[in-house]
Amino acid sequence: MKTDPKGVLVGSHYLSGNHACAEGALSAGCRFLSVYPIMPALEVSERFLARAKEVGATFIQMEDEISTLAAVLGASWTGKKSMTVTSGPGLSLMMENLGLGVMLETPCVIVDIQSVGPGLGLPNRPSQGDMMQARWGSHGDYEIIALAPSSPQEMFDFTIKAFNLSEHYRVPVAVMSDEYVAHLKEKVVIPPANKIEIEPRRYYEGPKDSYLPFKRDEDLVPRMVDIGEGYKFHVTGLTHDDRGYPIMNEECQEYNVHPLVWKIRNYVDNIIEVQEVHVEDAEVIIISYGATSRAALKAMEQARNSGIKVGSLKLDTVWPFPEKRVAELAKKVKAFAVPEMNFGQIVLEVERCSYGNANVFFVHHGEKGVENTDNILSAVKQAAQQNSVKDGIIECE
């Protein structure tokens, strides 16, 4: 399905990541934004609000982040594509309703502009410290999709993609950006509406009285209806059956929760997207995502110039994690270098998926500036010289 041209600001623009994100949302057909102001995500809501009237979108500033996501879930059930945007502390507060979103299988998008944590941290400095939180932050078992854009253009593209994934798999999708990308200004090309493919909502189209809100299709995703159409359905955050009625036993828990996990895990190949450069002959591969991939690609070029065979694997989709691809590559290469703006999160996943076939070097990145490649280069050099596989993650000072 093509998108509604009303929200698409066709042309080539010079936009910050945050503004590109707002444009991406409007282009994807998002018509409801609920926020609580938090640095460094403010510009998304400003841009959205400025454009809301002409596009016919709704904007509400709620009293806290808890209610923000609750309102987004409510709005999504009225048939509007909905989104919220926040930063680390806000994401922490949203976790409970994220769980509700997973349980009600509500499509919605959460944009997280990561800043340094924990606690109040540094609200105006980039970080990638919420990556594990996006996957594990709410209680109970679930799977989620998280994308990591590395430029304003990707902020635009990935926001649209996030809406599409979210409608297709009926799961909240997180766009895990960071302060650097959010405030970085670059050229963003917005294609015309007929070039933007969007995923329509998976509506139920049967007789009204036989609608079952959690009856799963072949691909384990149930179909939705809007509020106010006379379906009179019931949904609950409790463990429920197909009708959405709570049942408190082991069998129902299995029946309800296992498909929540399967509907993502069984389709990882369709969901995951990675960008690979020079991996064919690489001895060392830099695995990166979000803003760090900007430095990673630069470091790769620099290392190639100095004669080290380095490749790059950029994770567009961070969750679900591209386990298979990393495992394949691990057999071919000597080592992975993983630069992250945290003290080790995705690198643990890389360690897990390399199955002892390659060394894993962790580069604590960002101290000298996000685009600085010194640390990555020294890690890459170290990695290229290391011929035996060591136990555990090797941390580069």
Partner: protein, 273 residues
């Protein structure tokens, strides 16, 4: 009796249009008043002459939180305390809908207190039904912000030490446009209140005082549901338009009921446009 038995399978309650009869019997204890609040609400829905397809009901967690599951509307059982926030999203995204939040005192006033006062301030057009049974019953009888001073609960084994909140006063001071309080015994007046409130544009609050025979009454030795109903009969007073600051409820003290606030204020969606 014989005839009743033979006809039984065909019998349907007149409220089956608005209730999910296939889920009833419900989970509430014998003598619990939540069922009465639901009866009154169901009766009001039938009498209010509104398009039932356009009504959404949202509940939080707790005994009253289960109400959404028994009413045959588009119904949502959400997280603890977030019913109003969830409903705000529904209402703002689609202003054509009538949104009702049906939840308990702990859910709406304790953990959801912030959403309650903010929705009242914004004057989001919704009806909030707060069933007040003075205790957290679903988790086994913990002290609630409505538990009267010196009443017992499991987390205040020596009597509650916190003055209870006056829900109508809180709603009034935050800007609600319609505030009423009834007990479950005053079922017809409660029904009429629901009808009025459903018709009202803006944030309306109806507090329903309800017996909790299994926890509140048992811990405080107040008898069963029927005893509580008799208590309501003897110790209530109707005072329409009473100043909301006089509506505190003491332990086994007089309960003042009535319609206290009925005013006009532009609602959120009106202001937004």
């Amino acid at each position: 009796m014989e005839t009743l038995k033979t006809k039984k399978m065909k019998e349907v309650h007149p409220m089956e249009d608005v209730l999910r009869m296939n889920r009833i019997p419900h989970i509430w204890c014998p003598g619990c008043g939540i069922g009465l609040a639901v009866t009154a609400f169901a009766a009001a829905l039938e009498k209010a002459k509104i398009d039932l397809n356009k009504v959404a009901i949202v509940s939080g967690i707790g005994c009253t939180g289960r109400v959404a599951g028994y009413i045959k509307l588009d119904s949502f059982h959400t997280t603890h305390g977030r019913a109003i926030a969830f409903a705000t999203g529904i209402k703002v995204a689609n202003p054509d809908l009538k949104v009702v939040v049906f939840s308990g005192d702990g859910d709406l006033i304790s953990i959801g207190g912030n959403h309650f006062i903010h929705a009242a301030r914004r004057n989001i057009d919704m009806l909030v039904v707060c069933v007040n049974n003075f205790i957290y019953a679903m988790t086994g009888g913990q002290v609630a912000p409505t538990t009267p001073l010196a009443a017992y609960a499991t987390t205040c084994p020596f009597g509650s030490v916190e003055p209870p909140i006056n829900i109508p006063y809180l709603a009034d001071s935050s800007g609600a446009v319609y505030v009423a309080r009834w007990t479950t015994l005053h079922i017809r007046r409660l029904t009429n209140s629901f009808i009025e409130a459903l018709d009202k544009k803006g944030f309306s609050v109806v507090e329903v005082i309800s017996p909790c025979p299994q926890y509140y009454s048992r811990i405080n030795r107040l008898g069963d549901g029927l005893d509580m109903m008799k208590f309501y009969h003897d110790n209530t007073e109707i005072r329409h338009g009473e100043d909301t600051k006089n509506l505190d409820i003491g332990f086994q003290g007089k309960i003042i009921m009535g319609k206290f606030i009925d005013r006009e204020r532009p609602s959120y969606t009106e202001r937004f446009d």
